[in-house]
């Protein structure tokens, strides 16, 4: 599936370094060392969202199911494989792992698209689909994660279409205000982490 073999880091290994393949003493290692807080706090963000001290009401399997789905939508084999492996380690059932694979295959797209409030920007409105989880995948995900995945697709591909109704759907599916913040942070953070990995990997390949 992946041409790059990525060794899965332990809880303390830097995920971006591992996914880019940054070796100690390499040019990219020196560049990242010039922004030490960004490096450390990007990793602290990963820990806060995927290995939190206080997991609250979002389980590890839910966090990694969302993570694996987000990574799958970004269509980068190595990063997706990393999060799929962690989903397996999180205690997720085979059924859930299958459902995440199925959802990622159903929900592929190209972003960003979406609409603006009526006015001069309307000419930039770009149509695209809102994802609805298929009945078969919904049965395996359950209603709470199915609602989350539909929201994840919105955030990944067409965030400017966001509206209060999307949040109400999450509340109705059993997410609280606080767990919606965590869910949103997981998707938004991965949108960052994945792009840093892809950007730095491209830079490393041209060094």
């Amino acid at each position: 599936m992946t041409e790059r073999t990525t060794r899965r880091p332990g809880a303390e290994a830097d995920v971006i370094d591992a996914l880019v393949g940054i070796a100690p003493g390499s040019p990219l290692d020196a560049i990242r060392a010039r922004r030490p807080e960004a490096r450390a706090q990007a990793q602290a963000s990963y820990r806060a969202l995927f290995a939190p001290d206080a997991p609250g009401d979002v389980t590890a399997a839910e966090r990694f199911a969302v993570g694996a789905f987000v990574a799958g939508l970004h269509d980068d084999a190595a990063i997706a494989a990393f999060y799929v492996a962690l989903l397996g380690d999180s205690g997720a059932s085979t059924e859930l792992r299958d459902a995440v694979d199925a959802a990622a295959a159903e929900a592929t797209g190209r972003g960003p698209y979406g609409s603006y409030p009526a006015g001069p920007l309307s000419r930039e409105n770009t149509a695209g689909p809102a994802y609805r989880v298929s009945a078969a995948t919904r049965r395996k995900l359950g209603p709470r994660l199915a609602a989350a995945f539909e929201h994840v697709h919105l955030l990944v591909f067409h965030p400017r279409d966001a509206a209060p109704a999307a949040l109400q759907t999450l509340l109705d599916a059993g997410w609280s205000t606080t767990t919606i913040v965590t869910l949103s942070q997981i998707v938004a953070f991965l949108s960052f982490q994945i792009r840093v990995v892809v950007g730095l990997r491209t830079l490393a390949d041209r060094s």
Binding site: I31, E37, P159, R195, R206
Partner: protein, 200 residues
């Protein structure tokens, strides 16, 4: 009591990208100031942010907020070489323009204009979008930010080479990557948890 979304008060939504100061109205209940623990307060990093409904909403997951904010500050404020602040802000504004985050674009286009003194070019990015001609160095930064912002990502070696030809060293290119990547984080929170309003 079951939680519900908030209905923002009557307001005027901005219908164009602008460098004007906007407000942001949450769709979910921020923490009440009097309900915030020491941990919640510390997660704001800057105490003054307690006035912001956006940060008091994100403070519901304090560890995630604090790490987010400290990542943000080093990417944009670290003065050690690399990309000048004005161009880090340009990458943030271009990313926000492309994703369609009117609020984020307003803040970071103001910063880009302030630090670069190139108000007309920044305004052209807002008015005409990410295809505006801003001169080759800025065009290269905008194009790289946009390619990295597309999902799936369209960023490739040609973007690195164009940035190098425009005079950026690898630390500066890494700064472009981080600034654009960070606004893919920020835009998604700002766009999906509330909405901008014309101040007043």
């Amino acid at each position: 009591m079951p939680e519900t979304v908030l209905v923002p008060p009557d307001h005027t939504a901005p219908v164009a990208f602008t460098r004007a100061q906007l407000e942001w109205l949450p769709w979910l209940e921020p923490l009440a100031v009097e309900a915030m623990t020491e941990r919640h307060m510390a997660s704001l990093v800057d105490a003054a942010r307690v006035k912001s409904p956006y940060f008091r909403l994100l403070a519901r997951d304090p560890d995630a907020l604090e790490a987010r904010t400290r990542t943000d500050k080093d990417i944009f404020y670290n003065p050690d070489a690399g990309l000048p602040r004005a161009e880090r802000e340009l990458a943030a504004a271009a990313t926000s323009r492309f994703n369609g985050c009117v609020y984020c674009a307003s803040v970071h286009s103001r910063h880009a204009a302030t630090y670069s003194k190139r108000e007309a070019d920044v305004q052209r990015l807002l008015d005409d979008g990410v295809g505006a001609d801003l001169g080759e160095r800025w065009n290269a930064i905008v194009a790289a930010s946009v390619a990295l912002t597309a999902t799936p990502m369209a960023f490739g070696p040609e973007h690195v080479e164009r940035l190098r030809r425009a005079g950026l060293d690898d630390l500066a290119i890494s700064d472009v990557i981080h600034a654009a990547a960070f606004f893919n984080w920020a835009n998604r929170l700002m766009l999906s948890l509330g909405e901008p309003a014309v101040a007043g």
